[in-house]
């Protein structure tokens, strides 16, 4: 390195670029999430029989613990608890596995990516979408006797307010050191509320895709990677489409597994392409 300020800054810029390349390890999480998504359709066809009430006249529909992962139009006969648990445990396992991967990779490469921000954002998205949406809908239903989905004039101000509060908390936490802990807490809490309001509109029951999308965008920031940022943005777009409309019903089949596969195939394809490119890049760099 040289001693002139301009050359020194340039050297440090190049050093930073090299370090970022050396610590990139996102092929594994991208392919891992693609695998999680592609296995899910297998479980969508296993709806249990309806549960009869003791008098045999009514069908009891269990909502299941994580309803946001349920496809409403295939649960006419009862709740598919299996797919709800699959998404919940699968997502938690994939987040934990990717954190383990970066730790293990550090032992080999000698440099470790900081995944704390990625895990915080992923956790906020998971909790917000799974539990926050249910809580928020219950509160609105009990106090205003209406559903959030049909009342965007209630839901959207909550969403915008939560996003603004989260942004303010992040700014305060990074700007003033003594506010860091409370800033992170307030940002995570308001982000959960924001994710809860978004989950209200995920009517196709594929909220798991959006949780992965949010996590990928946080990972792109942690990795400072253009590839994962582009992959994350494309994945977010196709995941939103899959949640709001999807292509599954266009197939004209009554096979719930095939419909689910058609819906999740485009997001999974984006991750596979991104993962393969990342793999090739890391092989070339090695």
């Amino acid at each position: 390195m040289s001693d002139s300020p301009a050359e020194l800054l340039d050297d440090l810029r190049q050093l930073r670029r090299k370090v970022r390349q050396d610590r990139h390890g996102h092929a594994f999480p991208l392919l891992l999430f693609a695998g999680l998504i592609l296995v899910a359709p297998v479980l969508y066809g296993s709806d249990p029989w309806p549960t009869m009430s003791p008098d045999g006249r009514h069908v009891l529909i269990e909502r299941g613990p994580f309803e946001v992962f349920e496809r409403p139009w295939v649960r006419w006969g009862g709740s598919n608890v299996l797919i709800q648990w699959y998404w919940m445990l699968g997502l938690v396992t994939c987040f934990a596995a990717s954190a383990w991967w970066y730790r293990r990779r550090a032992d080999v490469a000698g440099i470790e990516t900081d995944t704390r921000g990625y895990l915080t954002v992923a956790g906020a998205a998971l909790v917000g979408m799974v539990f926050g949406e249910r809580l928020l809908s219950h509160i609105v239903s009990a106090t205003l006797d209406t559903s959030l989905y049909s009342r965007p004039e209630i839901n959207l101000p909550i969403m915008i307010g939560a996003v603004a509060l989260s942004g303010t908390a992040i700014f305060a936490g990074t700007r003033w050191r003594r506010l860091r802990v409370i800033g992170v807490f307030a940002a995570a809490l308001s982000a959960m509320v924001a994710f809860a309001t978004i989950a209200v509109y995920m009517i196709n029951g594929l909220a798991g895709l959006l949780i992965i999308a949010v996590a990928l965008l946080a990972l792109a920031w942690a990795e400072r990677s253009l590839l994962i940022a582009v992959t994350g943005v494309l994945f977010t777009a196709v995941s939103l489409h899959a949640n709001l409309q999807g292509v599954g019903l266009l197939v004209g089949s009554s096979d719930t597994r095939l419909i689910a596969l058609m819906d999740v195939a485009p997001p999974a394809a984006v991750l596979i392409i991104g993962g393969v490119i990342a793999l090739v890049q890391s092989r070339r760099a090695a």
């Binding site: 390195m1 040289s2 001693d3 300020p5 301009a6 020194l8 800054l9 050297d11 440090l12 050093l15 930073r16 090299k18 370090v19 970022r20 050396d22 610590r23 550090a106 032992d107 490469a109 000698g110 440099i111 470790e112 990516t113 900081d114 995944t115 704390r116 050191r177 400072r224």
Partner: protein
């Protein structure tokens, strides 16, 4: 009249290899001694001395451990280290800007 940008330079940080160590550490959660040695092309002794200076100034944390039977030393940047690095980079940019005008 504003202060000259050199007033913003920190004697501990304003050394090219220490700046390199802090820059690498700021880009990661933690970095291993061997990686720093290779990336900065330093000898064990030189790197060790720089890390000790930065550690004593509260800019780096050191974590010693073993991988199997092999000893490994990891360093991570502290909050004070991040602030010192940011201040140093600002001072360098101000110097370049002053030189360009």
């Amino acid at each position: 009249m504003s202060a000259h940008p050199t007033n913003g330079l920190n004697d501990v940080v304003h050394q090219r290899h220490r700046l390199g160590i802090l820059t690498i550490a700021a880009e990661s959660k933690r970095v291993e001694f061997g990686y720093l040695r290779e990336a900065l092309d330093l000898t064990n002794g030189n790197l060790s001395r720089h890390i000790t200076v930065l550690n004593e100034a509260g800019l780096l944390d050191i974590e010693k451990g073993y991988e199997g039977r092999r000893p490994r030393t990891w360093v991570s940047i502290t909050e004070t280290g991040r602030e010192a690095l940011a201040a140093e980079m600002s001072a360098l940019r101000a110097l370049v800007a002053r030189h360009d005008h």
